[in-house]
Amino acid sequence: MARLIRMDDTGHTTLAEWTAADDAAFAAAVTEFQEQQGLGYIGTVPEGPGKATHVRELPRGAELVIMRRPIAGG
């Protein structure tokens, strides 16, 4: 089961879950992903040690997609 989560002040919140075969669940996840992007969140797919990818669209095959806030110089 793939998950779309958002890091927030509760630690993290699971926004959507889907499987590759479940079109309706994936469509709901895509909608949620786009809403989070509209709120300023950035989609990131962790890909094992030392690697992650920025995504603008929800990848159907990803196991975990994390929505994070932008970073900035302090």
Partner: protein, 209 residues
Amino acid sequence: MEQALPELASVPWRQRTDARWLRRWGRIWHAWTLLYTVPFLAAGAGMIWLEPLSAPVALAAIAHAWIIPELYAFRGASVVRPKGPRNETAEPVAQGLLGDLLGHEQRELQRTTGLALERGALGTWLVGEAGALLVTPGGSRVHCFCVRTTEPDLPPSDRVAHLLLALRVDEQGFATVANHAFAGAPWRVRRRLPAAMRPALKTAQRAER
């Protein structure tokens, strides 16, 4: 899918931070340190040589030669000091997610020191809640970067995870977005780190030797 950090759009004027940029800034910081240290030492020694009665003033000059570099090193070490709300209710959940992003050894190091170790092409990073240290190859220099998530109320581990994910997406982009605060010898930074964090810097140095 993309490998450029989207936050780069907010700093279009900055030159991309690569290994060459880091070497140049390392040399500039080294020269700068000499520039504000040597004159005070020379003035102090000269005063004592010309007039031993001026020793108190000479000692004040020598003290400046010691205090100013210490202040810069303190500024560098401060980038990884814990800061912001502790958010103790949400922190265990955030710690779990961060732990999932780290390997076993890195997870243990992060739990004991608060710093997440990440090997990169530019060197070994130690990522904190609102900043990161980069130990460059050879282990003889550390660069201190001030960088944070734009949502300050997150639990500490989520703040670390934000920086870690951004670093993993685009290491040079991460260093470009961050503000460079200090570069110098690791021993200068280590003395000014909270005691619990010092083993992490030692581990990063070992990784780069």
